[in-house]
């Protein structure tokens, strides 16, 4: 992995040497937490990068570094990018939040955009997608489809983003199937195919016939396929190579329009620090094809829910909802506010287990 970083740095240096002669294109950098070939999260961000290149052609130059660890290494990579003349840098993982803020304070003229974080500055925007909208749809399908009433959930890190996803999926699964039970395994990684496969197998061995994941590889799909009768959903990316079964639908992150818009803002000088949190209505979250493995009526219900969210009629967190300890959170008809959602650190009533602290 270090080797690819090295190669990318070399490519960066070369690019700089070559670029200096041309008429100075806008340089856009991307810092990725996984490999572009992960088939999930990082893959979709890289599709966004390619869309920026396709949109602006020679007027932009993009660079990326993949497999950047969430820690001091990230700061080094970002600093290097800024020193090499990047005008705009997208850092695409929650753990890059503090490094992004640190580096941004040293380079006030460089614009930074951090995905899924909550810390901003004059030259740091944040952006994220409302994945919980997609998880509501998957939860609905999962609750309808499970026969063992045990749904496995591979969770990455105990951050609001992931907890929100668990709550949203559970809420909608339990709504259509009150007997449903969630088994949650925390793997403490965004991307480790072997660990994700092991976690999926452990869940399947314990009777789960639907496995949801908040990690980036397709290893759980492969494990489900081997088990034969276990259903999964694509996460971050369509993962269509496992359709029509075990992958019966997916949540797709579509970053391309956002990346194009923000790059254009830098090019024409209108860039400002903003906080963007978009979902199904703007297309930042898409639901991949619901396959025929799902009965037509369930598919229709799911599509109706998608449509209701698109038009703004329905919010996945609509009361009455209690917290895990039984205390009231949302009253009948109330809708969760973004602040609470963004900092969500509790399970809702019915979810078993404790959130690791």
């Amino acid at each position: 992995m270090k080797f690819t970083t090295l190669l990318a740095s070399a490519a960066l240096a070369l690019g700089l040497a070559g670029g200096a002669m041309a008429q100075d294109p806008t340089k856009v950098g991307f810092v990725y937490v996984g490999p572009v070939g992960d088939g999930g999260w990082t893959y979709e961000h890289d599709q966004g990068r390619l869309a920026v290149e396709a949109e602006f052609g020679d007027a932009v130059e993009t660079v990326f570094v993949e497999n950047v660890a969430e820690g001091p290494d990230a700061e080094r990579v970002m600093t290097q990018m800024a020193l090499d003349g990047a005008d705009l840098i997208f850092t695409t993982s929650f753990g890059f939040m503090d490094p992004t803020i640190n580096v941004a304070s040293k380079f006030p003229d460089v614009k930074f955009e951090h995905a899924t974080g909550y810390k901003r500055a004059d030259n740091v925007s944040t952006y994220s997608a409302r994945f919980y909208e997609g998880r509501a749809v998957q939860g609905h399908i999962a609750g309808k489809m499970t026969e063992s009433n045990i749904i496995g959930y591979i969770a990455s890190f105990p951050i609001p983003e992931v907890i929100r996803g668990i709550n949203s999926a559970y809420l909608h699964a339990a709504k259509v199937n009150p007997d449903v039970e969630f088994k949650i395994i925390w793997v403490y990684t965004w991307f480790d195919p072997a660990k994700e496969a092991d976690a999926a197998k452990a869940l399947i061995d314990q009777g789960a016939d639907v496995v949801l994941q908040h990690t980036d590889s397709t290893a759980p799909q492969a494990a489900a396929q081997e088990a034969g009768d276990v259903m999964t959903f694509g996460q971050a990316s369509d993962m269509a190579q496992y359709a029509p079964f075990p992958r019966v639908s997916s949540i797709i992150d579509n970053w391309a329009p956002y990346y194009i818009e923000r790059t254009r803002a830098v090019m024409d000088g209108t860039w400002e620090s903003v906080d963007t949190w978009d979902g199904i209505p703007t297309g930042m979250v898409e639901i991949g094809e619901i396959t025929d493995a799902v009965p037509a009526e369930v598919k229709a219900e799911a599509e109706a829910m998608i449509e209701a969210m698109r038009t703004g009629e329905y919010h996945p967190f609509t009361g009455p909802i209690n917290k895990q300890d039984g205390s009231a959170w949302l009253a009948e008809g109330d809708v969760a506010d973004d602040g609470t959602l963004a900092g969500m650190n509790f399970y809702i009533e019915g979810v078993d287990g404790e959130i690791p602290q």
């Binding site: 992995m1 072997a194 314990q206 287990g353 690791p356």
Partner: protein, 306 residues
């Protein structure tokens, strides 16, 4: 908390499968170190084996051919290490680290067009009615071929090192290469062969991950297993059966902690996550109280001076 949801039979079967890549890589490294060479490139050889095995298995449709290719791929990469350390007399630690970096880069280059492809599936070994025996059937007889081959390699390594002349010569080279040289043994040739064996085993371990455990190709998918294998050799005090024990412990507790989490056991997840490392180290440290020590010439460069 619901421990009854853990099926012990499936758990033990999963443990055995999870231990196999570590076991294969570690037993190869054990032979290398017993010959007096410290090859830190295990991770690089594993990932190269993983990608070679994957590419060949996809193109031929045969997992078996894939595994053979993985062994060859790992061995070919280790040849680079052999050249650096045995011919060019480079520092072994630096060469090993370089081998890991090179292997990671090379494998991601080779695997570029294989992302998202599904490999052919390896069937469980056809052991007929044995697999239907209650309880021990699924545990002992329901695995794919590589699990048994891994066990066979451990047994063979132990027997060769302990009982044969070749094993004695290999150990002599590792203990004192000058003395072995004075007795007329070809130190470099023997070490090169040991390095090749280590590379082949690491390659098999890598392919087990890309063809059976995960089955798919993604960059960096060995995710540090090679480093665990390296540590395991030291903690197992260079003894084959302890490597087996350590690998099973590590693989087993890794599986167990995932299952405990699924069952909702109220132990903080962080403790569960570190438990495989802690338990494996503790057990092997206790076992190594017998004052076994590293081969005398481990890590030292041999240069025939006379």
């Amino acid at each position: 908390m619901d421990l009854s949801s853990i099926n012990p039979i499936l758990l033990i079967a999963a443990m055995i499968a999870a231990a196999t890549p570590i076991l294969l890589a570690a037993i190869g490294e054990l032979v290398v170190e017993r010959a007096g060479v410290l090859n830190l490139g295990v991770e690089g050889m594993m990932i190269t084996g993983a990608v070679c095995g994957f590419i060949i298995a996809v193109n031929t449709g045969s997992p078996t051919v894939g595994f053979i290719a993985a062994a060859v791929g790992g061995a070919v990469l280790s040849l680079l290490f052999a050249f650096l350390t045995q011919v060019a007399l480079a520092n072994q630690v630096a060469s090993g680290l370089a081998l890991t970096l090179f292997g990671l880069g090379l494998s991601s280059l080779m695997g570029q067009s294989y992302v998202g492809i599904k490999p052919p599936r390896a069937d469980p070994t056809p052991l007929g009615p044995l697999a239907d025996i209650p309880v021990i059937g699924p545990i002992l007889f329901g695995h794919d071929m590589m699990v048994y081959i891994g066990l066979g390699i451990v047994a063979a390594t132990w027997a060769v090192l302990k009982f044969t002349r070749a094993g004695l010569v290999l150990r002599a080279v590792g203990e004192n290469h000058d003395a072995a040289h004075a007795l007329g043994y070809k130190v470099k040739r023997i070490r090169t062969l040991a390095i090749l064996f280590g590379g082949a085993c690491a390659g098999l371990g890598g392919a087990y991950i890309s063809l059976i455990r995960v089955p798919q190709w993604t960059e960096g998918m060995t995710a540090g297993v090679g480093w665990i294998a390296l540590a395991l050799v030291v903690f197992a005090s260079w003894k084959p059966w302890r490597v087996l024990l350590g690998a099973y412990l590590f693989g087993g507790i890794t599986q167990l902690q995932l299952n405990l989490q699924g069952a909702g056991v109220a132990i903080p997840v962080e403790y569960l996550a570190m438990s495989p490392y802690v338990v494996t180290i503790i057990v092997l440290v206790i076992l190594s109280a017998d004052k076994s020590r590293a081969p005398g010439s481990l890590g030292r460069t041999f240069h025939a001076s006379g």
